[in-house]
């Protein structure tokens, strides 16, 4: 069981309020190392700076989509193994298929709730302490 506070998470969203919300949920789960990026390209920069155990990204962003970020990560020799949870507004088949094909590890439909997010995170990282 990994200790949440030993894991580093990157939250990607173009809306500060949504990043803040996800961050507040992550803190409630016990995470302490939480970084934020306002876009996919910023996220890639962050990912190059330090290793992350998990990325939680918005799907539909103003400046490059979460899908692009996911695809870029999956093409990268190292980042391809970092788990990604995608937060999306729509649960339509098209969106789901596209992120699943691109290799997403989990999927949360907006509005994000603590419970839904926690369920996904635990599914991916295992029960947290």
């Amino acid at each position: 069981m990994p200790a949440a506070r030993s894991l580093r998470v990157l939250v990607v969203d173009d809306q500060p309020s949504m990043r803040g919300l996800v961050r507040s949920y992550l803190r409630k789960m016990g995470f302490e190392s939480i970084d934020e990026a306002p876009s996919g390209s910023d996220a890639l920069k962050e990912l190059g700076l330090r290793p992350y155990n998990l990325v939680i990204s918005d799907f539909n962003m103003d400046n490059g989509s979460g899908l692009d970020l996911l695809k870029n990560m999956r093409m990268h020799p190292v980042l391809k193994r970092v788990p990604v949870i995608m937060v999306t507004g729509n649960a339509d088949g098209e969106t789901v298929t596209s992120v699943v094909k691109a290799g997403v590890n989990g999927y949360v439909v907006k509005p994000v709730s603590l419970e839904a997010l926690k369920q996904r995170v635990v599914h991916i990282l295992g029960q947290l302490t």
Partner: protein, 694 residues
């Protein structure tokens, strides 16, 4: 609700303002026939973002509406719905209601139910969502898209470490290649720490500034492939020696714990500083870590905090004036250093005030962007055709001003469309473009911002205005008013030129309310109209509400303040320059024209004020849009920045006074409302002699 969530929600509402404004722009672009795909996508995203946040914060009505809107946008985006005129109308409506709902969620001002219902059901219908009672429509439960899908097992990232030695050749600088650029490129791949070898640095007299004498050893930790590193090195291999060594230890079997990046990482700036030959540090000295945790471009701050800062700076700004007064008895020679310090402090505090003002500044775009939709609505309700041209919307002004400008500008625009711009037929008959042009512009002029709204309509119908004014007893029959004076009647309380109250501008807020609102903010409104050519309203607003540069004048024992920006000249009149008319009027002959004199002592019934203008001082001022007037005071004390306090909030509204303040010496003083005084003067009957002189 937890405080954190409240904070986040506040941030969300700020985002909503931006999102709604951007949505509006997108719809405007769509209407104008701009690049459709981009605008549709931008609109979709804005609505989508509002929906997501609204859902997260439990703002159900907003979320539901945004959902319907988004569904419609999705169809448009995928080409499954046509973007015709009706669709654009629906989008405009949708954005309008969206704004109301954001307002509703934020301030509890309920959006008009009919508009909400109408737009909501129209969007649902257009989006092909089942039509049903609006508020009982259940949100479709989100399926679990991860059910039955095997996800790849996660693993942590692995990093590789390289040592790169960069030794620029003699031609590198001459070729225009900056070695630091190479380091910057490497930095883009991962974390970098740089050591500088300055051992080859010659003595200063032997130094060739065109040759790089330094060498760098770069430790790179990156998850990027080796190819990327080689590629960067390859770009300069003819100009420098680059050696790359892979120092990565054998693959660890367990996923590594996240590590904090090496402490010695250097920024390009640090390297730049160190690379200046003379300032180069000892060879091998590690460059200190100056990398920030995260680049921060903006910080959101609560408005009350800003207001507190602004108020405190406002209080501070009067301190130098106070000290200067206390020190005014001192010998300037003996206390030269004291005076210099006073000067410096005064300058620094002014800079501080400027900085505090700029923090609160917001672009006018926030309010200007709403007018596209307004003009469109007006086109529909009046049947006139109008093109709105906006410029200078990036001009920044105090946030409070931006917020309070919306209503007066809306009224001015309504007024221009209703009374200014003619119907297409009339325009054609007058040889004009059938589409009326409305120009809204803003520009900063010194410490003020000038906003102009001009139309190319018929201009003020002066005979009708005058007739109306006489009918309402505002002007005595037979009075001979100048064009400017007639135009000014539009701002007189209770005046309205609309024959019948129209649905557009006859809404109970008259032009007098516009002038009052602007005056409350320390600004002025003027209007210039040319018959058959159009009308221009100009608003002159201070950048900041809190601080005013004022001339302190003395009337009796009281101090009155005149905004310095309006002062043209002050003089002690010779008896020969004064023309006494019958009754109470005295005129001043000044630069070839006759100015009316307004004695503040008489106007405000100040005890002990001087009657005789030749013993006092006349301050010639230009109220925005009004005529020059000469204000009679007893004496001038000097110029002083003052903090404007509302008189209305603390006492009551007084005509001719826009606010109050405490002077540097602790005495209270009143700030004159020049446009109101100008209006008072304009309404007084004026003797024949004055009008024709000059």
């Amino acid at each position: 609700m937890a405080t954190e969530e409240e904070d986040l929600q506040r941030i969300f509402f700020l985002e909503c303002e931006e999102l709604v404004a951007s949505a509006e722009q997108s719809v405007e672009t769509l209407r104008a026939g701009g690049t459709q795909d981009d605008a549709i996508n931008a609109l979709f995203r804005a609505v989508h973002s509002i929906k997501g946040g609204a859902g997260a914060f439990g703002l159900d009505r907003l979320a539901k509406f945004a959902h319907a809107f988004e569904s419609f946008m999705d169809l448009l985006r995928k080409g499954r719905a046509t973007l015709d005129a009706a669709a654009i109308d629906l989008l405009f409506d949708g954005v309008d209601v969206l704004r109301m709902l954001v307002d509703e969620a934020q301030n509890g001002t309920q959006a008009p139910p009919q508009r909400y219902d109408a737009a909501f059901s129209a969007l649902r219908k257009a989006a092909g969502l089942e039509t049903g009672p609006a508020d009982s429509a259940p949100e479709p439960a989100a399926p679990d898209p991860t059910a039955g899908i095997e996800f790849e097992a996660p693993a942590a990232a692995a990093l590789r470490q390289y040592r790169i030695v960069l030794a620029p050749g003699p031609r590198m600088l001459a070729a225009g290649v900056d070695p630091l650029r190479v380091i910057a490129n490497l930095k883009a791949l991962g974390s970098v720490s740089v050591e500088i070898d300055a051992s080859d640095l010659p003595a200063l007299e032997a130094l060739d500034p065109a040759v790089c004498h330094l060498r760098w050893t770069i430790a790179l930790e990156t998850s990027a492939p080796r190819d990327d590193v080689d590629e960067i090195a390859g770009m300069i291999d003819d100009l420098a020696d680059v050696a790359i060594e892979d120092l990565t230890p054998p693959e660890p079997e367990a996923p590594p714990e996240p590590v904090v990046p090496t402490a010695e990482a250097a920024t390009a700036e640090a390297a730049t500083a160190a690379a200046a030959p003379v300032a180069a540090p000892a060879a091998g000295a590690p460059v200190p870590d100056t990398r920030r945790e995260k680049p921060v471009a903006t910080v959101r701050v609560d408005v009350p905090k800003l207001e507190r800062l602004g108020n405190m700076v406002g209080e501070l700004i009067i301190t130098p004036a106070f000290l200067a007064r206390q020190a005014s008895d001192l010998d300037t020679e003996k206390h030269r250093r004291l005076f210099r310090a006073l000067d410096e402090m005064s300058q620094h505090i002014r800079d501080l005030a400027d900085a505090a003002t700029s923090i609160r500044a917001q672009p006018l775009k926030v309010v200007f962007s709403r007018f596209g939709a307004l003009v469109r609505d007006l086109e529909k309700s009046t049947g006139k055709r109008i093109r709105l041209e906006v410029s200078g919307e990036g001009t920044e002004i105090d946030k409070t001003v931006v917020e309070r400008l919306s209503e007066p500008l809306t009224h001015l625009i309504r007024n221009s469309v209703d009374h200014g711009i003619e119907s297409a037929e009339k325009r054609l008959a007058a040889g004009k473009d059938p589409v009326g042009l409305l120009k809204l512009s803003a520009e900063q002029r010194g410490t003020h911002v000038a906003i102009e709204l001009s139309d190319d309509g018929a201009g003020v119908n002066r005979p009708r205005v005058l007739a109306k004014a006489i009918e309402r007893g505002l002007v005595s029959p037979g009075a001979n008013l100048s064009d400017q004076e007639i135009d000014d009647l539009l701002f007189v309380p209770g005046f309205s030129t609309a024959e019948a109250v129209t649905s557009v501008s006859g809404r109970g807020v008259g032009m007098d309310a516009v002038r009052a609102t602007i005056a409350e903010m320390g600004g002025q409104v003027g209007l210039v109209s040319r018959t058959g050519l159009g009308t221009t309203f100009s608003l002159h607003l201070p950048l900041s509400l809190a601080i005013l540069d004022a001339m302190v004048t003395l009337v009796g024992l009281h101090s009155y303040l005149i905004p310095t920006s309006a002062i043209i000249e002050s003089l002690r009149p010779a008896a020969s320059a004064l023309v006494r008319m019958d009754g109470q009027n005295t005129l001043l002959a000044w630069r070839g024209s006759m100015l009316r004199i307004l004695s503040l002592g008489a106007e405000f019934s100040v005890p002990g004020a001087m009657d005789d203008p030749t013993r006092g001082i006349l301050v010639i001022v230009k109220p925005a849009g009004g005529e020059l007037i000469a204000l009679q005071v007893d004496d001038l004390i000097g110029q002083e920045p003052v903090v404007v306090k509302s008189l209305e909030r603390n006492y009551r509204k007084v005509r001719g006074i826009s606010g109050a303040t405490i002077l540097g010496d602790g005495r209270p003083a009143l700030i004159l409302d020049l446009p109101a005084l100008g209006a008072v003067m304009a309404r007084r009957p004026r003797a024949e002699a004055g009008t024709n002189a000059g």
